[in-house]
């Protein structure tokens, strides 16, 4: 361990850079890297290689092969390229391979070489061909920028939501720019390009010339440019072998370096770590790798092989034919601990723990030293943090052991950071494994989040590992295990060589009713692969019947869909299915289906009431529902028909229906209404005025009010209006007319079937006390008191009440005695009461 810092290289006074091996590659590369189009996804993603036969003069007759490998060189896919010439390859944020063809078509492939889709970058690109292309990442997703043969740029900031933008022209641009890059600032994508000694920034509106501040003089051309992972920094390599480093906004220079190599570098990428002050750029030539930063000297490595640089969030990956390495700035915590002769608390703690294992008393000395300075907490934290940045499990372990050792001497050290680090490292070591081949660093992992890492494992079909991680981290089922199982099931249904039964059973066995698993999604996938029967089988496992409906409809299993929709209780769904069925089946079948589903039937009836009245009638007809048919025609006689003949005809149909329904009352009432309508029509013709649609009662009243007493009598006889009603009716009508003479005549025509109190009441209502009194005398004994009180004859009312010896009547009269005028009457009643009590 003494030479642990042997691979540390200082850059200036404050920073060290180290390079270590991630994997030794034993991929079976048929071609040299330099002959291939290469694309490696960030965050330890896959590597795609396409031998580029189109670059060479001699057009190859053999079709090239597209190979996809994991970062550890495990082959993932290999396919013969049958499409057009490819200009550029790149990985999207979802780890889809974008292949930009010369004609502007972009072909999208999955990690396993499965073709997903394609899109075009527009007509202009098609016409002028693609000269160069870049895939870049923004917060919205992944973008594509294209340089056409006409030296114009076209870009789309998000291939998931393709919106093509043609950038403005660069004035006077006659040849391809010497170098260019896509930049992302303030959520907008720009293009930065170099033409001779000039730099231009293109946004969607304008092209502006820009100058890097503090650029050394004498530059006649820029050979390379590099933007940092976060788009914050920019580096420019000039033909004078000079490197300018500054902010991407070109407002500030950070540093510069003169490497005195004028040959254009093969690649130049940023190598910096988040939250570090150090800035460095890695430049690669054919045989030389140079790390330059804010220091007079650079770090130099010799490249034995053809190599390729992959910028990462916190460093640079470098892979070649035989090896895959990671180059990064040594993190602060590691530097503190491992720097030669470091006295940092973490370093002392690590020493203490080592001595402790050797059972040496030096352990105590070291520990005391830390404790005396009160730095034990800090020491533990340092060890935990440094463990995160170590690649070798042995080193991780000894640092964690040191932290754990130090923790024993602390009273209150929250265990979370330690526990989480152990968990995270376990996950990281698992995915870094050669077989998995995702060499994530701790910082990258935190940036990526566990959810995305799980997605990537799922993408690689590493279901068991993903599930183990979920279980190990105790993720909630819905986000963790069930989601992965659902993905697995979706993959499973694509296995065409397995029978429907077996697939369905296998899926159900694994998934059971794990919460959060949507069987309908899986079924939809199965249907998408053309396995309808399997889809139906899978849907049976779906507990939410509502979820089954859309897919069943899509698969044309409408009747099944209907019963499922009804089961779900969601009427919107039922409606959806009904309208589907209606178009799909012939009328007879449709009605038969409805018959067996009362709930759907009532819904459909509601629909018909508003939309298709005729259909409603047919529905009733089919069910022999004569009662409802009758009601239907009655309604029609008011709403649909205007002419009197039509209305009567509708009523006749209704009456017939009611007879069939054995509802004689309704049939008779309808026939009466037909007679009444005809009669009202005649009345209107003969007498003028408004009669139609009045009730029988109102018709007679109107006749009386119009002075047509004879007609009224006739009508009452024809329609057998009961006596009581007729008396009420006449009484009210005559009082309204204030025809007191006729009223009196009427009252004497025969004995009133409703008594005479109503006469008193109605006269009083018209404020005719004189007439009221006439009738009060004729009121029968039991209502006499009430009548007398109504006309205001309190004294006589008292007399009658006393005569009746009725207590209730007495109190009623008493309550009407007001003020002085009725004083005598009141006394009289009191006396009568007293007398009654004596008896």
């Amino acid at each position: 361990m003494d030479c642990y810092t042997a691979n540390w290289n200082p850059l200036g006074d404050s920073a060290f850079y180290r390079k270590y091996e991630l994997y030794s590659m034993d991929w079976d590369l048929k071609e040299e890297l330099r002959d291939c189009l290469v694309a490696a996804a960030p965050y330890g993603g896959p590597i795609a290689l396409l031998r580029n036969p189109w670059r060479k003069e001699k057009a190859a007759s053999v079709r090239p092969v597209l190979d996809i490998y994991s970062a550890s060189g495990m082959p993932l896919a290999s396919l013969l390229w049958k499409s057009g010439p490819v200009v550029s390859l790149g990985w999207s944020a979802e780890e889809e391979l974008l292949c930009v063809q010369e004609d502007g078509a972009v072909l999208v492939y999955g990690l396993h070489g499965d073709f997903r889709r394609h899109f075009s970058m527009g007509n202009e690109v098609l016409q002028n061909r693609v000269l160069d292309a870049r895939i870049f990442h923004t917060e919205f997703g992944s973008g594509v920028a294209i340089l056409t043969g006409a030296h114009r740029f076209t870009l789309s900031a998000n291939v998931g939501d393709l919106k093509l933008r043609r950038m403005p022209e660069v004035p006077g641009l006659q040849s391809a720019p010497s170098c260019w890059t896509a930049l992302c600032q303030d959520r907008v994508a720009h293009i930065l390009l170099a033409v001779g000694p000039d730099l231009y920034l293109l946004d969607h509106a304008a092209c502006s010339a820009v100058t890097p501040p503090g650029l050394a003089p004498g530059v006649s051309s820029f050979l390379q440019m590099a933007v940092s992972f976060t788009y914050r920094h920019l580096a420019l390599f000039t033909d004078t072998g000079y490197i300018w480093m500054g902010t991407a906004s070109l407002k500030e220079k950070l540093c510069e370096f003169n490497c005195n190599i004028r040959a254009p570098p093969k690649q130049m990428v940023w190598c910096s770590r988040p939250r570090s002050k150090e800035r460095a750029v890695v430049v690669a030539w054919e045989r030389r790798l140079m790390v330059v930063g804010d220091a007079p000297e650079s770090i130099q490595f010799v490249l034995d092989e053809d190599s390729y640089l992959v910028p990462e969030l916190d460093g640079v990956r470098i892979f070649s034919h035989s090896t895959h390495e990671f180059l990064h700035e040594v993190p602060a915590a590691s530097e503190e601990i491992f720097k030669i002769a470091s006295m940092a608390p973490g370093a002392l703690l690590l020493e203490a723990q080592k001595e402790y294992e050797k059972e040496s008393q030096k352990a105590d000395e070291y520990l005391r030293e830390i404790q005396e300075l009160g730095q034990l907490t800090q020491a533990v934290q340092q060890c935990i943090e440094a463990a995160g940045h170590e690649h070798q499990p042995d080193m991780q372990k000894s640092l964690l052991r040191a932290a754990s050792f130090g923790k024993c001497f602390l009273d209150r050290f929250p265990p979370d950071s330690f526990v989480h680090m152990c968990q995270d490292l376990r996950v990281l070591n698992a995915v870094r494994d050669y077989h998995i081949g995702i060499p994530l660093t701790y910082s990258q992992y935190k940036q990526l989040t566990i959810q995305v890492l799980l997605d990537r494992l799922v993408l690689r079909r590493l279901y068991p590992l993903a599930i183990q991680i979920c279980e190990y981290l105790r993720l909630p089922e819905v986000q963790g295990v069930s989601r992965i199982l659902a993905h697995w099931a979706c993959y499973k249904v694509q296995q065409k060589d397995v029978s429907d039964e077996d697939v369905a059973r296998a899926i159900n066995q694994k998934l059971g009713d794990t919460p959060g698993v949507s069987y309908s999604d899986i079924a939809a996938r199965a249907y998408g692969c053309g396995r309808t029967e399997l889809a139906i089988k899978l849907l049976e496992y779906e507990p939410r019947s509502g979820e089954q409906v859309p897919l069943l409809l899509k698969m044309k299993r409408s009747k099944l869909a209907l019963s499922k929709a009804i089961e779900s209780g969601d009427t919107d769904l039922v409606f959806t299915v009904l309208l589907h069925l209606k178009n799909e089946l012939n009328r007879g079948d449709f009605f038969m289906t409805l018959r067996n589903q009362p709930m759907a039937l009532s819904l459909y009836r509601q629909f018909c009431k508003h939309q298709e009245l005729e259909t409603l009638k047919d529905l009733y007809n089919q069910d022999d529902n004569h009662q409802e048919l009758g009601s239907f025609h009655i309604r029609a006689s008011y709403a649909a028909e205007e002419r009197i003949e039509g209305r009567v005809a509708a009523l006749q149909t209704a009456a017939d229906a009611f007879y069939k329904a054995k509802n004689e009352f309704a049939a008779k009432a309808t026939e009466d209404q037909m007679r009444l309508l005809r009669l009202q029509r005649r009345l209107e013709d003969e007498l003028g005025g408004q009669f139609l649609d009045l009730s029988l009662h109102d018709t007679v009243t109107t006749l009386i009010l119009g002075g047509h007493n004879k007609r009224a009598e006739q009508l009452a006889r024809d329609f057998r209006i009961p006596d009581k009603r007729l008396w009420w009716l006449k009484l009210t009508a005559l009082a309204d007319l204030e025809d007191w003479e006729e009223l009196e005549k009427f009252s004497k025509s025969k004995k009133s079937p409703i008594g005479y109190l109503p006469f008193v009441e109605i006269c009083m209502k018209q404020h005719n006390k004189y007439e009221a009194k006439k009738y009060a005398s004729r009121v029968g004994p039991e209502q006499k008191v009430k009548a007398l009180l109504l006309v205001g004859d309190v004294a006589q009312a008292a007399d009658v009440a006393i005569e009746h010896r009725n207590e209730a009547e007495l109190s009623l009269v008493l309550s009407h005695c007001t003020g002085a005028t009725d004083g005598a009457t009141a006394d009289k009643i009191q006396r009568a009461r007293a007398q009654a009590q004596k008896k």
Binding site: P543, G569, R595, S602, R605, D623, D672, D693, W728
Partner: protein, 579 residues
């Protein structure tokens, strides 16, 4: 007066959250349409919308003009039209080519203890047309409540719709479990009840102040329009009626006969408080003006409004011979003098007093008597058609279907109907079976239920309406509301045990359920909070009766109803009016 709650009565949950939720969602939806837009609102959503987001909030989110949705194509000059409608077929015809978003507004808190779904059509749609489309909405509303206020440890219900709603809701909970799990329940019990379990109570005239105001002036969405006859000026006034109105809060649950006395006492007190001014020095006066005067003035204003309302009610009621009407109703409830009541109804019809009232009395007669005897059934209907127009033939058909107005079939015992059903089962027409079942349910058995549940209190002497002794006070001491009695009995037993006979008589043998969770996380406080869900509407009398029960037993009731209803609304829902 205005009985205070027992000191141990639990606090009500804060339901204003529901309003905020609905408002935020509406704003979110409006913001999905950036730029100026015209908003078209369906007529029956206007009042609820007003309670949730006023015009200035709408304007803030670039709503330019407001229109009412009418049954004709929308005319507007704006480029963006936004429609706020209930999902109904008839208006969608005029709104074509739109993209839809759902405004998940289902619950409007009308008061601290009253949540309304503002779905008056639920009653007709479900109980008449058999349309189950709103049941899902109910289930979603319950789901929302349980996500916000924790799960309900004890669930009871009665009625076919109650059961369906309950099961749908359970499914929703299962689909999204995890969310409510582990939450402490705030509301200990939930009771779901179908309106058709108790039509009688809803058909009675209301005599408790709030109910009477509803019957007389129609409370709409928690507020009422008092006309000039009440406000004693020439304008009508829209008044919010809820617990915030201090005067109203004290009289809302009172029998009407007490209200006038209470209000005049209150007026005297108020005067006395005003009079205190006289002996004040400047400083005291300053205090009085700055602190008390405003409150007094407010109280004064409310007081005069409610006195005005009372006077107006009295005037209307004496005109219609209210006493006579109430007497008849009580006779029907108690089941004596049936002939006399029938003649009264006949006279009512002959005199064309009011189509809705006449209908209501007929229904009350039918339900309390297990249907009308055939002679009366025919003659009353004939009289009614002659008085109010032949189109009511359809109304009668509706009422029969809903079981509100039926004919006693001679010798039609339950077994006879059952055999009819079994014959139908063998028939291929499966659709008819449900009809047959519903006709089976039409036997109301009110008399027997009333006896079993002791709904007509024995009266020893005068019933003191000032100091009610049971829930019957809401009907002048003559009748304990059936719905409330059922709730009381079930809560007492914590199940339907011992109520089998009642359940059978209610024709709900298959639709009475209890569901209790074992977990005992519910606090004793929450166990005294009861959410009562009325499917098809509840009346203010029922609310008052249960509030009374709550005070007696130390419970607090929370009411969730598809809409607040009364007898007139029920009858109108069943009536067919010429288009």
């Amino acid at each position: 007066m205005a009985f205070p709650h027992r000191p141990d009565a639990p606090e009500l949950p804060d339901f204003s959250m529901l309003k905020r939720l609905a408002r935020d969602q509406l704003i979110y939806l409006l913001e999905q349409l950036p730029g100026k837009k015209d908003l078209f609102i369906e007529a029956d959503l206007m009042s609820p919308l007003d309670r949730i987001a006023n015009v200035s909030i709408l304007k803030q989110h670039e709503v330019d003009k407001l229109y009412k949705v009418e049954n004709k194509p929308a005319l507007s000059s704006s480029e963006q039209l936004c429609f706020l409608v209930r999902p109904r077929i008839k208006n969608m015809r005029y709104i074509a080519n739109v993209s839809c978003d759902e405004w998940a507004f289902s619950l409007l808190p009308l008061d601290v203890d009253l949540l309304s779904m503002e779905l008056p059509e639920f009653f007709r749609d479900y109980f008449l047309e058999g349309d189950q489309r709103w049941i899902n909405t109910v289930a979603q509303a319950l789901h929302l409540l349980s996500t916000l206020y924790g799960p309900f440890p004890n669930c009871y219900g009665i009625g076919r719709c109650a059961k369906m709603a309950y099961e749908l809701w359970r499914n929703l909970e299962e689909e999204e479990d995890g969310e409510t799990k582990g939450r402490r329940p705030e509301i200990g019990h939930i009771f779901l009840l179908d309106r058709d379990v108790d039509f009688v109570t809803a058909l009675c005239s209301q005599v408790v102040y709030e109910g009477l105001v509803d019957d007389t002036f129609r409370i709409k969405c928690g507020s009422v329009d008092f006309g000039p006859e009440v406000t004693s000026c020439d304008k009508s006034l829209k008044v919010l009626l809820n617990a915030e109105d201090k005067v109203f809060n004290e009289i809302r649950n009172e029998h009407f006969s007490n209200v006038f006395g209470f209000l005049s006492q209150k007026a005297r007190n108020l005067q006395a408080q005003y009079d205190r001014r006289r002996g004040m020095d400047i400083k005291q006066m300053k205090n009085f003006v700055s602190q008390e005067l405003k409150g007094l003035k407010q109280e004064h204003r409310l007081l005069s409004l409610h006195i005005g309302a009372c006077e107006s009610i009295m005037k209307k009621k004496t005109k219609q011979d209210f006493q006579e009407l109430i007497k008849t109703e009580h006779a029907l409830l108690e089941g004596f003098n049936i002939r006399e009541s029938t003649s009264y109804i006949e006279e009512h019809i002959d005199r064309q007093v009011s189509p809705i009232e006449s209908l209501r009395l007929m229904c009350l007669l039918s339900i309390t008597e297990n249907g009308l005897i055939p002679k009366d059934y025919r003659s009353l209907k004939t009289q009614y058609l002659q008085s109010y127009g032949p189109e009511h033939l359809l109304t009668f058909s509706n009422l029969r279907r809903a079981g509100l107005l039926t004919e006693q079939a001679p010798g039609d015992t339950l077994t006879a109907v059952e055999s009819k059903v079994s014959k139908l089962v063998t028939d291929k027409a499966a659709g008819k079976i449900t009809d047959a079942f519903s006709s089976l349910a039409k036997r109301s058995n009110f008399r027997a239920i009333s006896k079993k549940l002791n709904l007509i209190p024995r009266v020893d002497g005068e019933y003191d309406l000032k100091v009610p002794r049971d829930m019957a006070y809401v009907f002048s001491g003559a009748y304990v509301p059936l719905s409330c009695r059922i709730i009381e009995q079930v809560l007492e037993r914590r199940s339907w045990q011992g109520l089998d006979e009642v359940v059978r008589l209610l024709n709900c043998s298959d639709f009475a359920f209890t569901d209790m969770t074992k977990e005992d996380k519910a606090s004793s406080e929450s166990l005294r909070l009861i959410l009562v869900v009325f499917l098809g509407g509840c009346t203010f009398s029922e609310i008052s009766a249960l509030r009374f029960l709550g005070r007696e037993k130390g419970y607090r009731f929370i009411f969730l109803t598809t809409a607040v209803t009364n007898s007139a609304r029920l009858m109108e829902a069943m009536s067919e009016v010429k288009a």
